[in-house]
Each structure stands twice: as C-alpha cells, then as structure tokens.
C-alpha cells in the first residue's frame, strides 16, 4: 500500500510538472483534471479540518481542561453559524452580521495588539542585542522616519535620496533572502518528487 501511495504521488507530480514545461494536449488536459481533483480534495480537507477542531475542543470539554468554557462557546458558535449558513446562504443578513460584527472587529483588535507587541519586541531587541546590527537598524529607522514625516520646510531631494538609499539595500537584502528560499523550495519539491520525503505517510 505504501509503495502504491508513493508511486501514485510521484506519477501525479511528474505529470503536473511535465504538463507545465511541455504543452502537449494530453498532458495539459491531464494536468487540468488532476488540479481540479486537488481543489475538490482540498475543499473536503477543510471539512475534515473543522471536524478536527471540534474534536479537539469536545475532548477539552469532556476532560474539563483549562479553558474548556471557551471551547463550549466555539463549538456552539460554529454549529449555529453552520446551520444558518446552510439554511439561509452566505449572503444572508445574519451571515453578514457574523462577519461585520464579530470577525472584522476581533481581527482588527488583534492587529492593534500585534502593533503594540511588535513595538515591545523591538525595544526588547535593542536592550538584548547591542551590536552593529542594532546601530544599523536604529540609523535606518531614524532616517526613514525623517524622510516620511511632514516637515515645515521643503527638503524633498534629500528625502527622496534617503528613501532611494534605504530602498536599495532593503530590496537587495529581500531579493537575496527570496532567492535562498526559492532554492530551498526547489530542493524540497525534488525530494518529494523523488519519494525521499513522503509527507503522505509513506515512510
């Protein structure tokens, strides 16, 4: 069974890959069909994932673990929203209310907390690591603030130069990191394609 799973996964991976490079009608059609299947399986996986979420919280409630009261709220809200969603559709006023009055404000509040958390983390970083990187970070932060903040006098040429200079280094650094990540992703993909890494339980 494990060998069959691995062979099946590798074969599908190869068909998708070859279909990308060689525009042969049969390969391209197969590629489209397999991608459609993957989308359908992905959608079913969301249902399985939600079932997993409910299972975890039901177990917490059953064992009366710490924070299980939040689990009760989560499960009740999930069942309520699911029933309303199925009965009245996602465009119904209740579903819109669930998004506008619950999800959006909660996520906005978390974003605000995150902003404070990041400022706190930056201060901690400056206290813990006092090296050349810290000096560089401080210099760039001060320069950028000086460039983008409104000023009583016209200094646009210097501002543009500062933004250009910092942008040049940050873009270069970001591209370097992204090239490294792309190489890592390529090799990880090849390992899966060769069947060395089998995240589908094959080894």
């Amino acid at each position: 069974m494990r060998v069959f799973t691995a062979a099946f996964a590798i074969a599908i991976g190869l068909i998708i890959l070859l279909g990308f490079f060689f525009p042969i009608p049969l390969l391209m059609q197969l590629r489209l069909i397999l991608t459609d299947w993957a989308v359908v399986i992905g959608a079913i996986a969301i249902l399985v994932g939600i079932f997993n979420l409910v299972s975890v919280h039901m177990e917490k409630i059953r064992l009366r673990q710490k924070g299980s009261s939040y689990g009760v709220i989560l499960v009740l809200a999930l069942i309520g929203t699911f029933i309303f969603g199925v009965a009245f559709g996602v465009e119904s006023p209740f579903m819109q209310l669930a998004v506008d009055a619950v999800i959006v404000p909660v996520e906005a509040a978390l974003m605000a907390i995150l902003a404070i958390t990041l400022v706190y983390a930056s201060i901690r970083l400056l206290r813990q690591r006092q090296d050349l990187t810290t000096v560089l970070f401080l210099a760039v932060a001060v320069l950028l603030l000086a460039a983008v903040m409104p000023k009583p006098f016209d200094n646009s040429a210097i501002d543009q130069f500062i933004v250009y200079l910092t942008g040049m280094f940050s873009r270069g650094g970001a591209r370097g990191l992204l090239i490294g990540i792309a190489l890592g992703t390529l090799l990880t993909g090849l390992r899966v394609l060769f069947g060395v890494d089998r995240p589908y339980g094959g080894n």
Binding site: L17, F20, F21, F22, P23, V39, I41, G42, A45, I46, V48, G49, I50, N52, L53, S55, V56, E59, K66, G67, Y70, V106, E107, L110, M111, I113, L114, T117, L118, Y120, A121, S122, R124, L125, A174, G176, L177, L178, I179, G180, I181, L183, G184, T185, L186, L187, T188, G189, L190, R191, V192, F194, V196, D197, R198, P199, Y200, G201, G202, N203
Partner: protein
C-alpha cells in the same frame, strides 16, 4: 517552449542530477554541518521535553500545499517526522498546529509515521495535530491557548507565517518558553529576528531536516543549495558587468 521555461527546465534537471550525486556521496561519507545555534537549541529542547515531561509545540504555519508557499510546510513536515520519532516515548507528545486543513491532515499522518518508526504507534493521538484557524489572526488566536494552557516548554515555528506570528512569539516569551522560529515570509522573518533567541534567516529554514538527522538526502540538499547559490552569484555578477558595459538583456 519559451526561453524562461527552457531555462527553468535546465535548472530543474541540473538540480535533480546534483541532488542525486550529492546524496550518493553523502551516503558514503557523512559530512560535518556548520553550527547553527537555533538547531542546537532545538535538539536540546527535544531531549529536555522528553526528560522533564513537558510538551513541544510545533507550528507548521499556513502554507497552502497548492501554492509555492507549500515548500516551507514540506520542510517543516520533514522536521516533524524526526521530532515525532524522538518524542514518541514522552508522556506528553508534541502538539502540531497549522492554519491549513490539508497541512493538518499531513501533519497527523507524518506524526503517526514517526511514532510507527519508533515502534510506539499506540501512543499516537490524532488530536495532537490541530487546525487552529483558517485566517492568519484566527490561527494565531487559536494557537495562543496552547502556549498558555498546555505546559509547553518550547515552541518550534517553521513554515509560512506572517506578522501575526508576533502574537505567538509574545505568548512564548510570557511563558518563558524557548522559541525556535523560521519562515519563508519576510514579515515573519523580521518578527522572529526581534523575538527569537536564535533566529533562523532565509534558507536556513530548509536545513531543519538535515540538522534533526533526517538523512543523507537532506544533507545533500544543503550541498546543492551551496552550489546553486554560487551559480546565482556568478550569473548576477556577469549580468551586472554586461549592463555596465552596455550589453543590455
């Protein structure tokens, strides 16, 4: 086939051949890996968690496997396989969280493989692999309760995470738990640089398997990455020289 596709295919074939050659070489003679403090800490924390009866929390992020972001998730799964094998004897098995349903299923499957390899499959619990939320902040909020309630001694965040991971790193800091973090997302890397004791930068994320003893192919991948990196450097320098000399592409 267009020129970029032709170059892409060439890179793919060369990389595949290099990977096979280096894997064969690494199987004969295992090399020495350069020291990365974060992975030293990870290996130490895995041992301590088993000895102290505490728990590890492994976050695989929200990397959708149908997109290019899935690469970091797959690297995280390779590391999870090794950690699951090593911690299968623990009273408190690691909790694996993710923000993508397919990834959650794979994390459960991978953990089970680790337990099976260690001969302790009966100790595996499906609920150890959890989907904590499908949007970035829902995922972070769902993970916060694990940091607070589950006696976690170390958090390992490896995968596609965004700036919202700042909430998780803050929770780890408040609980005095160790934090080993790497992401393919630049925002998350910036957050981790400020929060983690030993941050992992850029492609160091993909070295997780090699540093947790996943085998010759993972070590070979690092060698191939080094070779490809030098090729990229040479190509960039040649491109810059051509541009300076007036031969534009």
């Amino acid at each position: 086939m267009t020129t970029p596709e032709f170059i892409g295919l060439g890179v793919l074939i060369v990389t595949a051949l290099l990977l096979l050659a280096f894997t064969a070489w690494r199987r004969r003679a295992s090399g020495i890996l350069r020291r990365i403090d974060a992975y030293d800490r990870l290996n130490r924390e895995v041992g301590l968690a088993v000895e102290n009866g505490t728990r590890l929390h492994i976050s695989l992020g929200r990397g959708n496997l149908f997109t290019a972001r899935g690469g970091s998730a797959l690297a995280g799964l390779a590391m999870l396989r090794r950690i699951a094998e090593r911690t299968s004897v623990s009273d408190r098995p690691p909790i694996v969280t993710s923000g993508d349903a397919s990834l959650t299923i794979l994390s459960q499957d991978t953990s089970q493989s680790g337990y099976r390899a260690a001969g302790a499959e009966e100790g595996f619990r499906v609920t150890a692999g959890r989907l904590t939320g499908l949007s970035p902040f829902a995922y972070a909020a769902g993970t916060l309760s694990i940091a607070r309630d589950d006696n976690v001694s170390a958090h390992v965040l490896i995968g596609d995470l965004g700036a919202e991971s700042g909430l998780i790193t803050d929770a780890a800091e408040r609980q005095n738990a160790s934090l080993i973090a790497a992401s393919d997302n630049l925002s998350a890397q910036a957050v981790f640089y400020a929060s983690a004791q030993d941050p992992l930068v850029g492609e160091e994320l993909f070295a997780a398997g090699a540093y947790t003893g996943a085998g010759a192919s993972h070590e070979a991948s690092l060698n191939v990455q080094d070779v490809l990196r030098w090729i990229v450097i040479v190509v960039i320098l040649i491109g810059a020289a051509f541009t300076v000399l007036g031969f534009g592409f």
